[in-house]
């Protein structure tokens, strides 16, 4: 990693002027306006060209409309009756093969034969359409927020793991997306790991036969955009980056499709020389109404071991957590911290006590906040990465923690029940209560009557309620504790 170039380590976000929602910005990104009363036929705006369309929310609650099109140009977008052409985020390309998480023989160039278009939306927008699609818009005070993570279909040669991506029982993400969409959420929070189809399906294996592999558009389409289409149409998304989106994995697609910042070829993961820059992003906050915010943190490249203070990654993460502290310092606002790797959550290990939370991040957070780990203001942390559901409280004052990594990729084993009382997730953190299970599913957080209070509900993939956890004052109160039997 590099130390010298602040921009290269922290991304364009740190250099950009504070993003804000304004018609001026929207206008700047929408150069070709037309009379909406008599729109001319526009080839770029034909439905048949569009492969995906969604809205995601970035820094300063900036809503961004994104479209993926097979057409050479970007379509028109109509915002409250005013039509303009979307800006090209990035055009088609075949990126030469780079070093990946797999052997070179099991890797290939990443082909992106699509154009990604975008438009920043004004906060006042009431109706936004692209072609015949009406895009979901953020609500000022979202009442129901869906939480999913770790949703892709595993195709991995090194572990000889090939989920049957065409079998909804074995890879249920499409079912998850449909079930969540049916609950009509106002917002979707995806906590990382979207794309798992890294290596070719073995010959003669019908369950994944014909599946694309590698890191190009086709894999993103198969793992995310097609199965998630109902959910992308249902609500805007807040996107968190997972370790499967680090540069040596699906990072190229992350920056083309999902990253909320302006596309920057130096932060594209196309060239491994820039990985030490592109594997990190500056944290930002998304307001969930006036009383709650979620801080989005990129831990894509974190390792497992505690970091030395001289480690470049330590320095990077330390500066990012300083930013987290600044974002969280809002009185009267409940702050939720969202990153992919559990920090005060457990990883199950058969035949041994569960493994503690991510020690690399813990080491950095401990340097700033001692055994509180999180800065003042953070009341809840949400993660994926471990493929199960966990809801944890601590008697030592740390924020409550939720893990929701059971969205579709192969599950992890259950945590033990009863949970070993002596097993601390981090130095100075004592577990007070835990509810957990390992079954496919998702979560819904529903706004409570009191400011900043929420109810977190865990569901199976088919929408069966597993447990309901009230949340207020940094504490979760679940109606079930210990192992939750998904069959009962």
């Amino acid at each position: 990693m590099e130390h010298a170039n602040f921009r290269r380590r922290f991304g364009a976000r740190a250099y950009a002027a504070a993003g804000f929602i304004s018609a001026a910005v929207f206008a700047a990104l929408a150069p070709a306006c037309s009379d909406n009363n008599n729109p001319a036929p526009d080839a770029a705006s034909q439905d048949a060209n569009l492969r995906a369309a969604w809205v995601e929310i970035g820094d300063q609650n900036q809503a961004i409309a994104r479209v993926i099109t097979t057409y050479a140009g970007c379509p028109l977008i109509v915002v409250d009756g005013s039509s303009s052409r979307m800006s090209q985020r990035v055009g088609p390309a075949t990126v030469p093969q780079r070093t990946t998480a797999s052997a070179a023989a099991d890797s290939k160039p990443s082909d992106f034969p699509v154009t990604v278009c975008e438009a920043r939306l004004p906060s006042t927008a009431q109706k936004v359409t692209v072609a015949s699609r009406t895009l979901p818009l953020p609500k000022a005070s979202p009442q129901r927020i869906a939480i999913i993570a770790d949703t892709g279909c595993r195709m991995k040669k090194s572990s000889n793991s090939f989920q049957s991506c065409s079998d909804p029982a074995q890879w249920p993400f499409a079912r998850t997306a449909q079930a969540v969409a049916a609950m009509q959420p106002d917002l979707v929070l995806h906590i990382g790991d979207y794309q798992y189809r890294e290596n070719a399906c073995p010959d003669g294996t019908a369950g994944c036969a014909g599946s694309p592999w590698g890191y190009g558009w086709d894999t993103w389409d198969a793992d995310l955009f097609t199965p998630a289409a109902p959910l992308l149409a249902a609500a805007p998304w807040v996107v968190v980056r997972g370790n499967h989106e680090e540069c040596a994995r699906a990072g190229q697609g992350w920056f083309r499709f999902l990253d909320t910042e302006a596309y920057d070829v130096e932060r594209s993961c196309d060239d491994p020389v820039n990985d030490s820059f592109a594997n990190y992003s500056y944290p930002y906050a998304v307001a969930l109404g006036s009383d709650t915010q979620v801080i989005v943190f990129d831990s894509a490249k974190t390792g497992a071991a505690a970091l030395k203070t001289t480690d470049a990654q330590f320095v990077t993460y330390q500066q990012q957590f300083m930013k987290v502290a600044a974002l969280a310092a809002k009185s009267g606002v409940t702050t939720i911290f969202a990153n992919h790797h559990p920090i005060l959550g457990y990883a199950p290990v058969t035949g041994a006590d569960p493994a503690p939370g991510n020690q690399a991040l813990q080491s950095v957070m401990n340097s700033l906040n001692s055994t509180a780990y999180y800065p003042p203001g953070v009341q809840l942390a949400m993660h994926g990465h471990v493929h199960d559901f966990q809801a944890l409280n601590f008697s030592t004052g740390q924020p409550a923690t939720i893990v929701a990594g059971n969205g579709g990729d192969a599950l992890d084993v259950n945590l033990p029940d009863p949970f070993p009382a002596s097993d601390n997730v981090a130095a100075g953190a004592t577990l007070e209560s835990i509810s957990h299970t390992s079954t496919y599913g998702f979560m819904i957080m529903e706004r409570g009557a009191a400011a900043g209070s929420w109810t977190f509900k865990a569901y199976t993939v088919d929408g069966k309620l597993l447990t309901s956890c009230g949340f207020a004052a940094a504490r979760l109160s679940c109606d079930k504790s210990g192992f939750i039997d998904p069959n009962s």
Binding site: S158, S159, A305, A352, D417
Partner: protein, 423 residues
């Protein structure tokens, strides 16, 4: 992330394969942080080629009863070709008698079919995993890496074929009717030293065990995945339950891929190790000593000088389930007599432990010091006492019905009557 079975042991920083020499058939090891741990992120595939003439010689060795001491017990005596090359010679105690009928082995005889696919013992760590886990090796404790190294173990085990060393085996080999074939293939001096003789014997047996006849893939399940046959509704239900992570969850260890027409992708094992805590088998002579415990993988870990070998006590390698329905007995210690009871044990070990263990002596075949090694996480046995099992009796029947489809054609006549009502 995916831990699958959860990987192994939080104390990984000191776990190592330091004493294990690099082998050509294993992918390179990688260091684990600053520790001495070395592991592999690519699972090795066992490579083998048909050697029909050598396999024919190995077959003669395998069926030769003159190689035991006293003579009378061939390899095939315990690895009974009528029972998919497994069996306990009808002992009814869970282990086979040796060439001296007053001596019994300490473990149930495993099937040798499909053994050619077992990789050498290695530590595997998926790049998403928290910790590495051991996989591979032959025998329930993984102490042998290759089929060529295998024969010396039973041939010189006093409880099995009882030769007093390799020299005695080689002397018998030199007098065998097929000794000339050994000399022709391996040189006139093949029996000049015990080491040379045993190496030749090992190579011949390896060729036999790697031959296609020892991996027939001729079961109804194989026909099913090749699109040449069907499974019944009950069998398909069993397959789904076998795979379902909320129900049987069997496939989390006994891996298979029913969507692949390549049956070698359905070996029904991941070659990993599991601490299941099978009840103590009081019928085994070795268990008359209450202090005796078969500790499994940790004995190998000690022999290979792995740090903290005790963390592997109670672990035994996950066997293939091919032909499981025609086994004489079940589990490493042969405690269980029928397949349905085994499945029922898995389903109710946690919820109804006193059906399986003497009252107050939970996990009675694992010393108290090692009970923390046991798997209490995995469905179906992660449930607490009194909870509803993840499988009901009808679902257990369905899983057994599916497991019966894994029987190769040659052994279908050995299938016991289909399971009926629960005991």
């Amino acid at each position: 992330m995916r831990s699958g079975r959860g990987g192994r042991a939080a104390s990984v920083a000191v776990l190592a394969l330091a004493a294990t020499a690099a082998r050509a058939d294993l992918p390179p090891e990688r260091p684990y942080g600053d520790s001495t741990l070395r592991y592999r992120v690519i699972a090795p595939q066992r490579a083998f080629a048909a050697r029909p003439e050598l396999a024919a010689l190995g077959r003669r060795v395998f069926f030769d009863p003159a190689l035991s001491e006293p003579a009378g017990l061939a390899c095939s005596g315990c690895h009974d070709p009528r029972r998919a090359f497994s069996g306990d010679r009808g002992s009814a105690i869970g282990a086979a008698p040796g060439s001296r009928p007053d001596r019994f082995g300490t473990r149930n005889t495993p099937s040798l079919l499909y053994a050619r696919y077992a990789p050498p013992l290695y530590l595997f760590m998926d790049d998403d995993a928290v910790v590495p886990e051991p996989r591979g090796g032959l025998f329930a404790d993984g102490r042998i890496d290759t089929l060529a190294q295998l024969p010396v173990q039973p041939l010189t085990n006093p409880l099995e074929m009882n030769n007093r060393g390799a020299a005695m085996v080689v002397r018998k080999l030199a007098r065998a009717p097929y000794a000339g074939e050994f000399r022709r293939r391996f040189g006139a001096a093949v029996f000049a030293t015990p080491a040379r003789g045993m190496a030749a014997l090992g190579e011949a047996l390896e060729a036999f065990l790697q031959s296609d006849g020892m991996a027939p893939f001729s079961s109804r399940y194989d026909d099913f995945i090749r699109g040449k046959g069907r499974l019944t509704a009950q069998e398909l239900r069993g397959l789904a339950l076998f795979r379902n992570p909320d129900k049987g969850n069997c496939a989390s260890c006994h891996g298979f891929n029913e969507t692949s027409s390549d049956p070698a992708r359905s070996l029904f094992t991941d070659y990993a190790y599991e601490a299941v805590a099978v009840p103590r088998n009081p019928a085994l002579p070795a268990n008359r000593d209450p202090a005796h415990h078969d500790l499994g993988l940790c004995e190998t870990a000690k022999a290979r000088h792995w740090p903290q070998p005790e963390q592997w006590c109670g672990y035994f390698r996950t066997p293939s389930l091919r032909n499981v329905a025609v086994r004489e007995r079940y589990m490493h210690n042969g405690f269980f007599k029928d397949l349905r009871t085994v499945v029922r044990y898995y389903a109710t070990r946690g919820t109804d432990p006193w059906t399986w263990y003497p009252k107050g002596r939970m996990f009675d075949d694992v010393p108290a010091a090692y009970r923390r090694n046991l798997n209490i996480n995995s469905t179906p046995y992660n449930r607490r006492e009194g909870m509803k099992p993840s499988l009901d009796e009808g679902e257990i029947d369905a899983i057994v019905a599916f497991l019966r489809t894994l029987t190769d054609q040659a052994y279908e006549d050995r299938l016991p009557a289909a399971a009926g009502a629960p005991p």
